[in-house]
């Protein structure tokens, strides 16, 4: 089973890559997506993810956590993590190194990382949330497990997939409608997607950004949905 290995300064890049693979999207766009973030926001997102990955709940899946590791090369593509890194002449020189076994806890954290990046990238200029907020959402999200929560997990992935596609399209500032989400939800029917969204909404993982008609009508096809972080 392949493992996920990354230097601390690559946490965001690794999360986006793992998410894109999970969502069957082209991973070559991950670096560009990070490039769209301001350096400050990218740093903060990276640090948020490292904080999540070093929680006690993750320890069981952490195969290696090496401290004070020299970052290879002149162009490691890393982000300026402020947690443990040592910076010399403006360049990160030493960070932690992580190796995770393939597990849902890591994948779910990566998907949340993508949600964070998508929210932060929104032209509305949403701020990077606090660790406490993200930690709360993560607890609800990671508690979902396949196969019992297949519908909710598939729906969340469809929300992220659709948002990624919208971001590269003509309307990057808009969140996806129910119809758009369903069209990127694979075999899931509209009814299943509504069920999934409702479950996710109850858990505080997604919310309606714009009501298509009457407030509270969760099945309206023009409702737009966004991840909560």
């Amino acid at each position: 089973m392949p493992t996920r290995k990354f230097y601390e300064s690559e946490a965001l890049l690794d999360s986006l890559t793992e998410s894109f693979q999970e969502l069957a999207l082209n991973t070559s766009q991950c670096q560009a997506l990070i490039g769209q973030l301001s350096a400050e926001k990218a740093d903060r997102l990276n640090d948020l993810l490292v904080s999540l990955l070093t929680q006690p709940e993750m320890q069981a899946h952490l195969q290696q956590h090496l401290k004070d590791v020299e970052v290879p090369g002149p162009s490691s593509g890393g982000l300026g993590s402020h947690l443990r890194s040592q910076v010399r002449q403006g360049r990160i020189v030493r960070v932690d190194f992580f190796q995770f076994g393939k597990c849902w806890e890591k994948t779910s954290t990566s998907l949340l990382g993508l949600a964070l990046a998508l929210i932060t990238l929104n032209p509305a200029g949403l701020p990077v949330p606090t660790y406490e907020t993200v930690r709360g959402v993560w607890s609800s999200w990671v508690a979902l497990k396949r196969p019992g929560d297949d519908v909710a997990i598939d729906t969340y992935e469809a929300v992220l997939r659709t948002q990624c596609i919208l971001l590269n399209g003509r309307d990057p500032g808009r969140f996806p409608t129910l119809v758009e989400i369903q069209s990127h939800a694979g075999p899931r029917t509209e009814r299943e997607v509504v069920t999934g969204l409702t479950r996710l909404r109850d858990l505080g993982i997604v919310k309606v950004d714009f009501w298509g008609d009457q407030e509270g009508d969760l099945s309206h096809r023009e409702n737009t949905w966004r991840p909560v972080v």
Binding site: P2, T3, K5, D14, T17, E18, D68, G73, S76, G90
Partner: protein, 545 residues
């Protein structure tokens, strides 16, 4: 007082003996001791925020920013009109190629650079042989090596190689000048002072003193003014940079407006204090990092002012003194490095040249002697021809042998033959150098922003050998330096100049694996997770699991 020194590496090179002066100087005989602090090893040409190019001696490669065609055109005096360039940056970018190529010529056309290259090759061959020995013992490198060498089950051969590698690295850093400068209170108006630096690990032998240029440094604030002396170690890098800068400046003056030339000089002589989190005076001092381009220029100015009371001299004098120094320097041999007599430091050679030249003559006529006669050159060339055969089919030989043979027959011998044909002035007179520039060989690999330009006389199969050679070189360094059981892929992390242009994976491309992050690093037990590529193949051949 002179004494004869017969160096084993000199014998390998075919040089019978050197007349080496005892270190005797009227200037600064006391030796100052400093703590060793290493800095980057590539010869990067940059002005702090901008890097224009870099030269990588052990890889026979040059990397330049910008378009290769523009760079080549400007170096050959083509149609490009630098007078019309609005910015100096453009001129610097276009001249970066010529600057880096000059490093290549100074390195492979002098005994200092040739012996340094053979040192790299020798060490790599030793590492490769040791790997083969490990495999025959059903063993492999255990990572991290620095931990393994402290354990009882580590073979003595490995322990010995590891400690030699670290010791050699230190001596090579001294030779090349890959060490940070040192600060001291108070002014110094000496042209050089002798310094000794100690690494944080035990050495097999004492580090020899090397000369350093005492540069006046200062930092002024509203409240106070802090002044100190920054010692710039005089080693291979400042000598090479001084030469390249001199020919670059001559070319710039020939083709650019005076405003651009003045701006160039301003930029070349700027100094900077690297930013740190602390604003204290001590951090300003420890982060002071002057550029290496003018160290020989300043030193020569101060020397001539003291010696003759005049500070004006023809620019070619820098090239003459440097060439004589580089032709009488030898990198410490891998075999014989224990005895300091068997090597000669370029900085010490530079100082020897200054001390042994008769400065009473007109400076235009002053020509420091290069003590390598035509007979010596014939002997050196014959020696190479006899010992290292040309490769007719690179695919049938080991990459280390292929690269060594290529360097000897396509680069070193042609450069030494230019000395034979036109005299040493072909290296030390800018006009003679430019007149014959098209006869000089170019590096095997030249990397630009938009691609690779392999040497036109590159034999078939050399590219393959070069890739294996640089990968092995990089892997050796990674294994020796690793503090943890992690080996980064040089392609994924751009650890080798121009490697991003090369395809190491099959059947899927490196870029696909890198964007999927399905390769990146080897960690213990993860070999089968890596894709099929040259990196994983090399790891497998070395016994990594």
């Amino acid at each position: 007082m002179t004494k004869k020194v017969t160096s084993p590496i000199a014998r390998i090179l075919g040089v019978r003996s050197f007349d080496t002066k005892e270190r005797k100087s009227v200037f600064g005989d006391a030796v100052k001791e400093f703590r060793y602090k290493e800095r980057g090893r590539a010869f990067a040409s940059s002005l702090y925020s901008q890097t224009y190019g870099s030269y990588h001696h052990e890889y026979l490669a040059v990397s330049v920013r910008g378009s290769l065609s523009d760079a080549c055109l400007s170096s050959l005096g083509g149609e490009i009109s630098l007078d019309d360039q609005a910015s100096l940056d453009q001129a610097m970018q276009n001249l970066a190629y010529q600057h880096e190529i000059r490093h290549f010529h100074d390195c492979f056309g002098t005994l200092a650079g040739i012996s340094l290259f053979f040192w790299h090759v020798h060490e790599l061959r030793e590492f490769y042989t040791l790997t083969g020995w490990l495999r025959r013992q059903n063993l492999s490198w255990r990572m991290p090596l620095r931990t393994w060498v402290r354990e009882n089950d580590c073979p003595t051969k490995i322990k010995r190689f590891y400690h030699l590698f670290r010791s050699r690295r230190f001596h090579r850093d001294l030779f090349v000048g890959s060490l940070a400068g040192f600060n001291e209170e108070g002014p110094s108006d000496e042209p050089w002072e002798w310094i000794v630096t100690h690494p944080p690990f035990p050495l097999h032998e004492e580090a020899p003193p090397i000369p350093a240029f005492p540069m006046s440094a200062g930092r002024r604030s509203q409240a106070s003014e802090d002044r100190w002396t920054h010692f710039c170690p005089l080693a291979l890098v400042p000598l090479l940079e001084g030469n390249a800068q001199a020919v670059q400046r001559s070319l710039l003056e020939a083709i650019c407006r005076s405003e651009v030339v003045n701006l160039y000089w301003q930029r070349m002589t700027q100094y900077r204090v690297e930013p740190t989190t602390s604003n204290s005076e001590s951090s300003a001092r420890s982060n002071f990092c002057p550029l290496p381009y003018n160290v020989t220029d300043y030193l020569l100015t101060r020397f001539l002012t003291k010696e003759r009371g005049c500070s004006n001299y023809p620019r070619s004098l820098i090239l003459k003194v440097t060439d004589a120094a580089l032709m009488t320097s030898l990198a410490p041999s891998t075999i014989y490095y224990r005895d300091p007599k068997f090597s000669r430091h370029p900085g010490a050679a530079f100082v020897d040249v200054l001390n042994s030249t008769d400065w009473r003559r007109d400076l235009e006529d002053c020509s420091p002697a290069v003590p390598i006669s035509s007979d010596d050159l014939y002997r050196i060339i014959s020696n190479y021809r006899a010992k290292i055969r040309p490769m007719s089919d690179p695919s049938r030989s080991h990459p280390i042998d292929v690269i060594e043979s290529y360097a000897v027959h396509h680069v070193i011998i042609p450069l030494l033959e230019l000395r034979l044909r036109y005299g040493h002035s072909v290296f030390s007179e800018p006009l003679t150098y430019w007149k014959h520039i098209v006869e000089f060989p170019v590096p095997a690999m030249i990397f630009g922003d938009r691609g690779i330009q392999p040497s036109t006389d590159m034999p078939r199969g050399l590219m393959e050998a070069w890739l294996s050679y640089v990968l092995l070189q990089n892997l050796m360094t990674s294994i020796m330096d690793a503090e943890h059981a992690i080996l980064p892929c040089p392609r994924a992390y751009n650890l080798i100049p121009g490697i991003e242009r090369c395809e190491l994976a099959y059947p899927e491309s490196c870029s696909r694996h890198i964007s999927d992050r399905s390769c990146m690093n080897w960690t213990s037990g993860s070999l089968n997770e890596l894709p099929k590529c040259r990196f994983s193949k090399m790891l497998a051949e070395m016994g990594f699991d």
